[in-house]
Every structure is written in structure tokens, then in C-alpha cells.
Symmetry: C2
Subunit: 198 residues, 2 copies
């Protein structure tokens, strides 16, 4: 880093460690920023700060949004009795992109991970249980198909079962267009277990 002047080193330092940005890409990014027009850089900086200051948790589903309620929770046409539980706002967006899901969401902001010391109280589970006091028909657990996601799904399902509300889990299996040859064994077994009649 001592090969760069003070301002440049400080910039590279600040950029290094952002997700997906290592030492090399931080350098490339820094020089790109230094070559941008001042106004563009100022606009970028302002957008970041203003987003951080203005974005908050939706009062209902806890996704990140600009207003008290997110567009989905605000929408009267959505089925508010069907709640899909996801780990984070990006997963919510992934399901919204399908354009086919008509229920609402609940964002946990994480998953239970004994390895990382993340317990049930570290994710937004309490808020989910509170929402179940209202009329809810079904909770669809759409946490990731990872060890943490599965642990979280199991934990939530045990928590909700006593309430009598239907709890479901999205299917695991071979991705559409997936070539069996390249799919791992665990997924193949899951696909077999989850087979349906034709």
C-alpha cells in the first residue's frame, strides 16, 4: 500500500473487504473512481449515504424498504394469510421476480448457525410468531437449502406446528434445465425422495 499516495491508500483500504472485493479489485475499483468525473463520484457517494439513511425495515415483513410498509405488504391484492419466510431481502426479490407468488413475506435477516454462533434469538423469529396471532393460513418456509437454512426451517416448523397453522417447505430437487450428471448426490437423493406421481 505504501506504493500509493495517502489519499489513494486510504481509498483502497476502505474498499478492501467490502463483499467480493479483495486487494486486487479494490485497487482496480479505486483507480476507476479516481478517473470518474467529480460529479459522478459525488452522486455515487450521495446515493450510498442517502440510501443508508432512508432505508428501513418494513413494519410488517421486515424487508428493507423506503416507507413504513414495503410494496408487497401495502398491496391489498396480495394474500396476507399466506406468509413466505425467507432469509434476506434478496431472496424475497428472487421470488418476486417469478411474478407468480401472491402471498406476503417475512424476512428473517439471517439463518440459525451454531457454527457462527447465530441462535434463534439473533434472527427475526419473534416478529414472525407475533404475526401468526393474526389470521394466517399457511407459512411457507423458503430458507436456503443449506445446512443453516435447513436447521432454521426445522426449528421454525417445530415452533409453529403447535399453533395448528399449516407449515410447508419449498421443494428441494434438480434445478430446471439441470443436467443430472453435474448435480451433487445429496440433491439427487432429495429429488428422489420428493418424487411426485405423474
Amino acid at each position: 500500500m505504501e506504493y500509493y499516495s495517502g489519499h489513494i491508500s486510504k481509498l483502497i483500504e476502505e474498499l478492501t473487504g467490502l463483499p467480493g472485493i479483495g486487494a486486487k479489485s479494490a485497487q482496480r475499483l479505486a483507480f476507476h473512481l479516481l478517473n470518474m468525473p467529480v460529479e459522478r463520484v459525488e452522486k455515487l457517494a450521495e446515493t450510498v449515504v442517502s440510501a443508508r439513511k432512508n432505508v428501513r425495515y418494513c413494519a410488517q415483513c421486515l424487508t428493507l424498504t423506503d416507507d413504513e410498509l414495503c410494496p408487497v405488504c401495502k398491496n391489498g391484492k396480495r394474500d396476507h394469510r399466506q406468509i413466505m419466510v425467507v432469509e434476506n431481502p434478496r431472496d424475497l426479490a428472487a421470488y418476486e421476480k417469478t411474478g407468480k407468488y401472491e402471498g406476503v413475506y417475512h424476512v428473517l435477516h439471517g439463518a440459525i448457525s451454531p457454527m457462527l454462533g447465530i441462535g434463534p434469538n439473533d434472527i427475526r423469529l419473534k416478529e414472525l410468531m407475533q404475526r401468526l396471532q393474526a389470521d394466517v393460513d399457511e407459512v411457507i418456509i423458503a430458507t436456503n437449502s443449506s445446512l443453516e437454512g435447513e436447521t432454521t426451517a426445522m426449528y421454525i416448523s417445530k415452533l409453529i406446528k403447535p399453533t395448528g397453522i399449516r407449515v410447508t417447505r419449498i421443494a428441494s430437487g434438480v434445478p430446471v434445465g439441470g443436467d443430472l450428471e453435474y448435480i451433487d448426490e445429496v440433491t439427487l437423493l432429495r429429488a428422489l425422495e420428493g418424487r411426485t406421481d405423474l
Copy 2:
């Protein structure tokens, strides 16, 4: 993008397209920034803007730096009669890291690329030629070993030859520790051509 609120979409949009940041990593980066403490985000934004505003071209070698002259050009112990020509400040830093080069640099800020429409007048060649009016013993061309880098090297060497100043090119060959098996044919041929007596 319509799956995110206004502030979040704007943030993702601003981040997408920065070097090495595609749509997916822009989303990951955006949510990382939104989860950072406000003060950290403000500091990051300020560092970027202040670097952009305070960094300028070294009056001699044209690298990016904080002052009128960069540390290398300011250093009286460096050999100012030996100039290494590089494409950009990152390449300068790469050679500085070796700690063995004692001359100074000239940063072209690009390379000639007919494909991209970048001609000799689009890089800082005129400034290099001006520097050669002073006492210079050698110009070492250290542009990349790419098509553009080689074209630029050839062009510069033709330009300088008539002045009588010695022009050299850094060696192409097998990288140290490189396994011949995995090295491309062009490099292997270059290494053969550039062989030296033992």
C-alpha cells in the same frame, strides 16, 4: 429492479457497472452497505469523494498522487536518467513492490488499441517525448505483454530510436514458478526466442 424500493434500486443501479461488479454483486454490496453503521457509510463516501478531489497527476511521471510530484519523482536518490514506461499506476506499484528498480517512471494511462479506437494521441506519449529533452540514458518499456501493450511498445521504440536514447523492453517468458505444461504456446515461443547463455 422493481422488486426493491426506490432508494435500494438507485443504489444497486449506481453500483452495477463499476469494474468487476455485475448485477448480482451489486445487490450483495448494496445490502452490505445498508447494514453498515451510518457513520461507516458516511466515512466511506467521504473517503471516495475526497480522494477523487485531491488526487492529481504527478507533474513529471503522470502517475496519480497527492502532491505536485509523486514520492518516486521527488526522491533525489532515484536515477532520473532511467525512465520505465508503464500503462497505469497499478503497474508502477507492481514494479515498486519489487523494491529493486531505482529509476523513475512514466505513466501512459492506457495503451494504443486500434480495436478500441485508442491512438497514440489518446495516451500520454507527448509528455514522454518532452521528458526526453532532458538528460535520459534509457527508456525501459514495461507495457503489458498483450496485443495493445506490444503495439504500444513498438510504436514508442520507433518514436525514440531517432533520438539515440537507448530503448529496452522487459523480457517475456515463463513466469517464475510457472509449470511449462500450463503455459500457452506464444509464451513458450517467446521464452525460447529470449533464451540466454548459461
